[in-house]
Amino acid sequence: MRTALFITCLADALFPEVGKATVRVLERLGQDVEFPSEQTCCGQMHVNTGYQKQALPLVERFATVFAPYDAVVAPSGSCVGSVRHQHAMIARRFGSAGLVEQVEAVAAKTYELSEYLVDVLGVTDVGAYFPHRVTYHPTCHSLRMLGVGDKPIKLLNAVEALELIELPAADQCCGFGGTFAIKNADTSTAMLADKMRNVLDTGAEICTAGDSSCLLHIGGGFSRIRAGAKTVHLAQILAATRKDPAL
């Protein structure tokens, strides 16, 4: 099986450790993951901000670059959500009939990391070791657009020495929402404050999630208030071992 990593533009530019961790987990599980360097961005930011037409070249690129692979895996529920739910809409509106077919075919084999591990590889214990108190924030798009359910929880529960603490009001949005965080900064910040309070109330050292974007937001808030808690992507926890710890 040829598996391609879709790194996402955000992780490529700002969180390379998330990409490296994804590669480490997959290689540990015997996957020969490839990184097609022609990839760029899924176009979600454009679509969600109202610039659908500008997203077309990105949608076309995604479909072309990833067409040759049997599976595409990305460390982001949000970007996979865009591929699955928005690419066909953009293709229908601005592209050719052929493009619609092409994006639908690629979308059907594109997986968020926890989906890929649990559904495609059939693994919940990835052999990780992470001796920390962790709480899990189910990001909105993993939870609702993709419906990943308890897959990330299953993966975390199988991590050796990890203490998982349930997050109160876990299903509430952290307030990121892409350009929402800028256009409605005050409301976004109010949502972030409640999310941070809920995380800190658990006493966890680490807040993890399957999306770098939400973690950028929550982590940025923690950093600003000098909170003791940190944010770490799910992939980094799953990649951590005794020999090669994430922290």
Binding site: C9, S37, T49, N184, L216
Partner: protein, 497 residues
């Protein structure tokens, strides 16, 4: 709006007119939201109320093994009805007339208000009682009646609180959700002439005071005005679903009943109520069944109002119907489940939306009714978290329509302006960079992404990416790493694979 063309129509159907009604706020959402967020009492009241009602809803919805099938049935019934709306409306009109009612067609808020004012004047009364109704709030009927010298008395307890407090409703179902009982006690003491000065803030005592205040009005009223939750095309039956029984007082005691109903409230058959009367109470109040369901058909001699007028209101709805990507907003049954789960609504409250339709449904309905130009900030008042779509009893894909309306807004702007907005320039620049891996790699490597995106003024703070001041006011931004992922990969794996 300007680019849409409907074959067979001479032009686009008109939006709800300006200068009348309550569909447009004075401030854009972010400005109004900022004000609301500063009100700690409001934050507390809303957080408490929405958390309670969310839990109640979740509990009663979980009881039904066929909830998802019910939602799908509700959706399909609505989609079917909207596809044949003109036929069903004509059927409804015939059925209402056959049963002794009078049907009026109102193109917009002005026409609807004028019809009501004429009817009320014809009865020679200077006071009418009202059943809680979103349609009458939408068109500003109370204001129109007041201008004509007629007092419109709200009889729904929460609407009464809002009216007495010279306030505006902030929620579709519980319009005084932003008030707590201490505030309500103060309003009653101040505004109810006949209230006991020893009034406490116990909910039962407050309700008792309102009952006493209203009871006399019910018995004296000659004309009542209502909205409708449903109209049944095949029988001409109208329906109002409520909790207090005050609506039923209005619907049964006065001699004349005037009902104003948006044209989308229609269902084809009597049997369809089976679906909606299960979906609505569980989604709205979190009850298995609502306490009062009043259904009436035309006029029944010797029983109830002897004169019945039905006003069918368009006020921009035909324009919504004309947009294939947005029209599902008309399927709404006004349960307000989407408000109660919305993290934005929970923090800002309803007034921030400016329209009588707040929350996620308001963010897709108001801009479509008024035309996007007049409510352009509303489609952006969402983090697209999707909680609204999950709970909607008729499965309106609110996030998808929000995204559609954002596109509608930017495309309308682009069509009307020769110079693109700063945001559009930045988005085009980002797309230009990202559409070619070489450009993207170059931008990342040279650390010049921000400069390329913000090239107009050569500052990063000017671009609509999460590096602007609005971000750094409250959160730190992650420091870009020394090496991007793709550079690491190339170093590790010797270039492309």
């Amino acid at each position: 709006m300007s680019t849409r063309v409907m074959l067979g129509f001479p032009s686009m159907p008109p939006p709800a007119p300006r200068g009348v009604g309550n569909l447009r706020g004075e401030d854009k959402f972010p400005v109004a939201a900022r004000r609301a967020l500063a009100n700690t009492q409001l934050r507390h009241n809303l957080g408490k109320a929405t958390t309670t009602i969310r839990a109640k809803r979740a509990q009663v919805v979980a009881e039904l093994p066929d909830w998802e099938e019910l939602r799908e049935a509700g959706r399909q019934l609505k989609v079917h009805t909207m596809a044949q709306l003109p036929d069903y409306l004509a059927q409804l009109e015939s059925a209402v007339i056959a049963r002794g009612g009078v049907v009026h067609w109102a193109r917009d808020a002005n026409e609807a208000n004028a019809i009501v004012v004429d009817l009320v004047r014809g009865k020679g009364v200077d006071e009418v009682v009202k059943v809680k109704s979103m349609a009458t709030q939408e068109i500003g009927l109370n204001e129109a009646l007041q201008a004509a010298g007629v007092a419109a008395l709200e009889t729904d307890l929460a609407e009464l609180i809002v009216q007495l407090g010279q306030d505006k409703p902030s929620h579709i179902l519980v319009p005084a959700i932003h008030r707590n009982r201490a505030e309500i006690r103060e309003i009653f003491l101040r505004e109810m002439a006949d209230v006991d000065p020893a009034l406490s803030d116990e909910p039962a005592v407050l309700a008792g005071a309102a009952r006493k205040h209203l009871r006399r009005k019910f018995l004296a009223a000659k004309v009542a005005i209502s909205g409708a939750n449903f109209a049944i095309a095949e029988t001409g039956t109208l329906g109002v679903v409520e909790s207090e029984g005050n609506g039923r007082m209005c619907l049964t005691l006065p001699e004349t009943l005037i009902t104003i109903m948006g044209i989308e409230k229609l269902v084809p058959r009597w049997q369809d109520l089976e679906v909606f009367l299960q979906l609505l109470p569980r989604s709205s109040t979190g009850e298995r069944m609502n306490p009062y369901t009043s259904l009436w058909t035309g006029v029944t001699p010797g029983d109830g109002p002897q004169e019945f007028h039905l006003i069918l209101l368009d006020n921009g709805r035909t324009a919504v119907l004309a947009d294939a990507d947005g029209r599902d907003a008309l399927n709404c049954i006004r349960c307000s489940a989407c408000l109660n789960v919305c993290p934005v609504y929970e923090r800002t409250g309803g007034h921030a939306y400016g329209s009588v339709y707040p929350g996620p449904i308001g963010a897709i309905l108001s801009p479509q009714l008024t035309g996007i130009e007049d409510n352009a900030s509303l489609p952006y008042a969402s983090s697209l978290c999707g909680a609204c779509y999950d709970v909607c009893p008729v499965k309106i894909n609110i996030p998808e329509i929000l995204v559609h309306l954002r596109a509608n807004h930017t495309e309308t702007y682009a069509a009307e302006h020769r110079v693109p907005s700063a945001e559009a320039s930045a988005m085009s620049a980002a797309a230009w960079v990202m559409s070619r891996p070489k450009r993207w790699t170059y931008a990342l490597r040279s650390g010049r992404l921000g400069r390329i995106l913000g090239r107009k003024r050569d500052v990063i703070g000017d671009v609509p990416l999460p590096i602007a001041k609005q971000w750094t006011d409250a959160r730190d931004f992650a420091r870009p790493p020394q090496q991007t992922f793709r550079d690491w990969w190339a170093a590790e794996h010797g270039g492309e694979r």
